[in-house]
């Protein structure tokens, strides 16, 4: 453990390293972010309201939120099963599957987008077998967002499952708990904070996702147009005011998610007394 002596330390470089860090973050992140809100506030209030409550914008919020929610929920369920299997069940090829889980992190979003579209379009490998259209419908957006969010849930849950002591489960069993009771009373409470964090991370990523969605969604205004795409469309039409206002909405959503995730982690740390 780091054992820094209150404030006194003989280690040099505080001014230099903190200076570089702060200047860097200010120039690249802080100033542009402040600028976005300054630009937004330069719009008159009625104008801002008009832009962000426009029919097309509201349709895009509903679609983005809805699809992100479905995808993150599916990931929470399937991600839990996958994480449990990868940690607790021995089978040939487990290591390989474990490595593959990170694919959505490593694969560029545009590549994921065209690959998913090829597979889930009407004459794609899986699209053919399904018998109902997936690509170019909201369902396609959910597929892309599920793809992109899966590793968040699995990678957040895995360490928590590894930390579970199988002895505790055995003890519960010996003391007369049924499998269901052991799961609900012993396992689930221990994993819940990680599951919530993983869900929130996947949801947050899904809200802002662009590259993997735009190929499979078909991008029809009011029907399959996500908010990030609407921002890009406005930029391409040189509607900077519109793009800025929607950007502020999108950014506020990201901040709210970031805040909730920090809150969950703080709550967990307090409950378990570690940090």
């Amino acid at each position: 453990m780091a054992r820094s002596n209150k404030n006194a330390t003989i280690i040099p470089g505080f001014g230099l390293t903190l200076g570089v860090t702060v200047v860097w973050l200010s120039a690249l992140v802080l100033v542009p972010l402040v600028l976005l809100f300054v630009r937004t506030s330069a719009l008159s209030w009625p104008k801002f309201v008009e832009i962000v409550t426009d029919e097309r914008a509201v349709a895009s919020y509903k679609l983005t939120l809805g699809c992100a929610l479905v995808a993150a929920s599916l990931n929470a369920v399937m991600g839990s099963i996958i994480a449990w299997t990868l940690v607790r069940v021995e089978f040939p090829g487990r290591r390989l599957l474990d490595a593959v889980v990170d694919l959505p992190f490593a694969l560029p979003t545009a590549v994921s987008g065209i690959a998913l579209t090829a597979v889930y379009s009407r004459n794609g490998w899986i699209g053919q077998a399904l018998g109902f259209p997936v690509a170019f419908t909201p369902l396609g957006i959910m597929v892309a967002l599920t793809f992109i969010g899966l590793p968040f849930v699995v990678r957040t849950l895995q360490p928590a499952i590894e930390d579970l002591d199988p002895g505790v489960e055995e003890a519960a069993g010996i003391l007369g708990a049924s499998r269901m009771q052991t799961f609900l009373r012993v396992i689930a409470p221990a994993l819940l904070p990680s599951l919530i964090t993983g869900f929130a991370l996947a949801f947050s990523r899904a809200l802002g996702e662009y590259g993997s969605v735009i190929f499979i969604s078909g991008n029809m205004p009011l029907r399959t147009e996500i908010t990030p795409l609407l921002i890009v469309t406005k930029l391409e039409q040189f509607d900077y005011a519109g793009a800025t206002a929607l950007g502020a909405v999108q950014l506020t959503a990201s901040f709210l998610m970031l805040f909730s995730i920090n809150l969950v982690q703080w709550w967990t740390a307090r409950k378990t007394g570690v940090r």
Partner: protein, 270 residues
């Protein structure tokens, strides 16, 4: 036993439907018209320009991420100061922000009506803008790997070196760097993968000038939208191979770290 089979079945099915089948589809689609068409798509002059630009952006982004990462990790893990957790939140911010918003921020700063727009720096719709957008989305990777690592390692060895008369730079090069090299390498791998693959942010600032400001992912998009699927998937397969190499490197590093940890434990026990 039944439970195990069910769990394994569900895992394999889900990972196949969402990850493995799409991955295989890239390679199959890329080779649909044979190896000749595949190679032609990669040797196309516009593709070559895109590859060069991507490599340039990624190398600059990696250097930026390393410099920032080492400075941030040193400041955060070696000293106490007020506002540290706020600083950590800001380091993570680029990952929380939609790539589209990241691009929008660059437009607001450097665009025609932007904050620095009147200076006509020629950043937007040109290589510098693409480099900046790439740096924005990828710079936290090294810091995020180094901070937990250096936190855990503590400062005792550095303090000993300094007390024995080493300079700050010597201490860093001879004591700290060897201890963090694998974490650093891992951060570099993640950073370069993201830098080469970034699409949303770069798409907003690039202006899509074919043969001039297209990176590999943007080139893939153009080919795809022109219904030139074989070429699009051929170029995309380059990025897919890169992703597989990233996963391989990650698995290798994790294996090595586990082995080192096990060896250290044995030594401590002996």
């Amino acid at each position: 036993m039944k439970w195990k089979v069910l769990l394994i079945g569900l895992t394999v099915l889900f990972l196949s439907l969402f990850l493995l089948v799409p991955l295989a589809a890239i390679l199959v689609e890329a080779l649909r018209k044979g190896a000749g068409a595949y190679v032609r798509a990669l040797l196309d002059p516009d593709a070559m320009v895109a590859i060069r630009l991507t490599l340039l952006c990624a190398s600059i982004a990696v250097v930026a991420s390393v410099i920032f990462g080492i400075c941030a990790a040193w400041a955060v893990t070696r000293f106490r100061f007020p506002g540290k957790s706020l600083l950590l939140t800001f380091i993570d911010l680029p990952f929380a922000v939609s790539p589209v918003v990241a691009g929008l921020l660059m437009v607001l700063v450097f665009g025609g009506q932007g904050w620095l727009g009147p200076l006509h720096l020629g950043v937007l719709f040109a290589t510098p803008g693409i480099i900046l957008a790439t740096i924005f989305v990828s710079f936290p990777f090294v810091a995020r790997e180094l901070i937990p690592l250096m936190q855990e390692q503590g400062t005792e060895e550095e303090e000993a070196a300094l007390l024995l008369g080493a300079s700050g730079w010597q201490t860093f090069m001879r004591i700290t760097l060897p201890k963090i090299k694998w974490g650093l390498l891992y951060g570099v791998i993640l950073c370069s993968a993201r830098a080469m693959g970034e699409f949303g942010a770069v798409s907003v600032v690039s202006g899509h000038i074919r043969g001039r400001t297209n990176t590999i992912p943007l080139h893939v998009e153009i080919l795809y939208n022109e219904y030139n699927f074989v070429a699009a998937f051929a170029v995309a397969s380059l990025l897919a191979l890169l992703a597989l190499a990233t996963l391989g490197a990650k698995a290798l590093l994790e294996w090595k770290l586990r082995r080192d940890a096990a060896a250290a434990q044995r030594e401590a026990g002996a």
